[in-house]
């Protein structure tokens, strides 16, 4: 299989969280674990123009992020058991039979994708709906999105169609893990590391 990746259109996403909930339903997740999370990045201020008028330039946009099944995953590098691994088809998955729940992968992933399930005592994470994709279907989150802001396809195709951008705040710069992710920026999009805005919904993610 070719390397798959996610496409996310930040112009379309309204932050409705249908993808997150569809995933939760399909993967039967409790309230503490989210395989897909919606980050709200917001900022802006009053600025004075030449005439002395104050105008606001506030902005807010959303990023729906799961695991990016990275080319250079931070999570697999550190895992002591090999439970977190990139499989032959390029999906980064956790072998729940081997994982000891040390949470080291969670410390390393800059996308907060591996999440510890206290009930199960080990790591859990988006598997890219591996079994669905193998059968030629799209992941649940992609199909659920009412705005058609998500897609999942061979990353080559996505990059040919939409470009290479994946370093939009609050995401980390793409050099760190080389995510298989393409983001369509919106008109307010700021680059990774930007500090003009802030994470507006820290308790939701």
């Amino acid at each position: 299989m070719k390397q798959y990746g996610f496409y996310f259109d930040s112009e379309r996403c309204t932050g409705c969280k249908t993808c997150e909930l569809a995933c939760k339903d399909y993967k039967d997740l409790g309230t503490e674990v989210n395989f897909r999370r919606i980050y709200e990045y917001a900022g802006g201020n009053w600025v004075q123009d030449n005439e002395g008028c104050f105008r606001q330039d506030v902005f807010a946009y959303y990023m729906s992020i799961s695991c990016n099944h990275c080319e250079d995953p931070a999570c697999t590098k550190v895992c002591p058991t090999g439970a977190m691994h990139k499989n032959a088809d390029g999906f980064v998955v956790v072998n729940e039979e081997t994982c000891i729940g040390c949470r080291y992968c969670h410390m390393a992933c800059p996308y907060d994708a591996p999440q510890y399930d206290a009930q199960k005592g080990h790591m859990t994470k988006c598997d890219g709906c591996y079994s669905r994709v193998k059968e030629g279907q799209k992941p649940i989150c992609v199909e659920a999105c009412p705005l058609r802001a998500l897609d999942f396809a061979p990353i080559e195709e996505l990059r040919a169609k939409y470009g290479e951008q994946a370093s939009i705040a609050p995401l980390p710069p793409a050099e760190f893990t080389k995510p298989n992710l393409v983001v369509k920026p919106n008109k307010h999009a700021r680059p990774s590391g930007d500090t003009t805005g802030f994470l507006a919904n820290p308790r939701e993610v």
């Binding site: 590098k77 002591p80 729940g101 800059p110």
Partner: protein
């Protein structure tokens, strides 16, 4: 403080570092002066082993599935965490054998020396691995030389505090340098705190400011340094076993405050 949820790791790292530090000091003394009187050394050497054992138990508590703990050795060579556990277990084994040997049998001086030095080298490797575990490229607050300093200084401070306390009533065996090491370690630790305090304001992602993670950084470090100073005064002056034990506990506790701040500082270059 959000670093408190990592208390098993706080206990594990500080106890293991202090145990290894003390073992290194004992190694130098034993290699130079031999292990007479044996009965006393048997007691002294048991303490770092005990602390290390307690540390390992604490570290297992941090796992979600402790029954599978052995899986953590699957990636020795590639994962720093595997390396840490492997070298730590090896150190524990070698040190334990040396202690049992002293307890039950008579080992030749030469072999004993070689064994001690080998154990000490494995201990150093263990300390290196423990420090490397936290050098994760995506964690900007940890991936700095200051963190290595902090970790190695706990080896010096905790180790010399233990050695001072255990050897205080042991005639000529207490070398002057254990006290000097303690003072030097604490002094350097204070310097690191100053650099770290300033450095933190430079570290941020779009979602997180490093300084916001440790709002009580200054007051906690002040408490830590005061405790280290107070413990130091007792360790340098007193011969009272009870006072000495309290001083050692205070010194280790002070290092745990520092380690707690360290775990609180976890953030990544992204949203986590």
């Amino acid at each position: 403080m959000n670093g408190l949820h990592e208390w098993p790791l706080v206990i594990f790292t500080v106890l293991a570092q202090s145990a290894v530090g003390a073992w290194l000091i004992f190694t130098v003394i034993l290699c130079r002066q031999g292990d007479e009187p044996r009965a006393y050394w048997n007691k002294v050497l048991f303490v770092p082993l005990l602390l290390l054992g307690a540390g390992f138990i604490a570290s297992a508590l941090h796992l979600g599935t402790p029954l599978r703990a052995l899986n953590s050795l699957n990636r020795v060579g590639s994962s720093m965490l595997s390396n840490e556990i492997a070298t730590g277990a090896l150190f524990f084994g070698l040190a334990g054998v040396y202690w049992l040997w002293g307890l039950f049998g008579k080992m030749s001086r030469g072999l004993g020396k070689i064994w001690l030095i080998l154990t000490a080298l494995v201990g150093l490797a263990f300390m290196y691995m423990m420090n490397q575990v936290y050098h994760i490229a995506t964690v900007p607050t940890w991936n700095t030389p200051l963190i290595s300093w902090q970790f190695y200084l706990t080896v010096v401070i905790g180790g010399s505090a233990l050695a001072c306390g255990l050897l205080a009533n042991f005639g000529d065996y207490q070398p002057r340098y254990t006290a000097v090491l303690y003072v030097l370690g604490t002094f350097l630790a204070a310097i690191i705190v100053i650099y770290q305090g300033f450095g933190l304001s430079q570290i941020h992602s779009s979602a997180q400011q490093a300084v916001a993670l440790v709002p009580d950084f200054a007051v906690n470090q002040v408490i830590r340094l005061c405790l280290l100073a107070a413990a130091g005064m007792v360790l340098l002056k007193s011969k009272q076993p009870l006072l000495l034990s309290i001083a050692v506990i205070l010194a280790l506790f002070a290092e745990m405050i520092g380690r707690e701040l360290f775990y609180s500082l976890h953030m990544t270059v992204g949203m986590a």
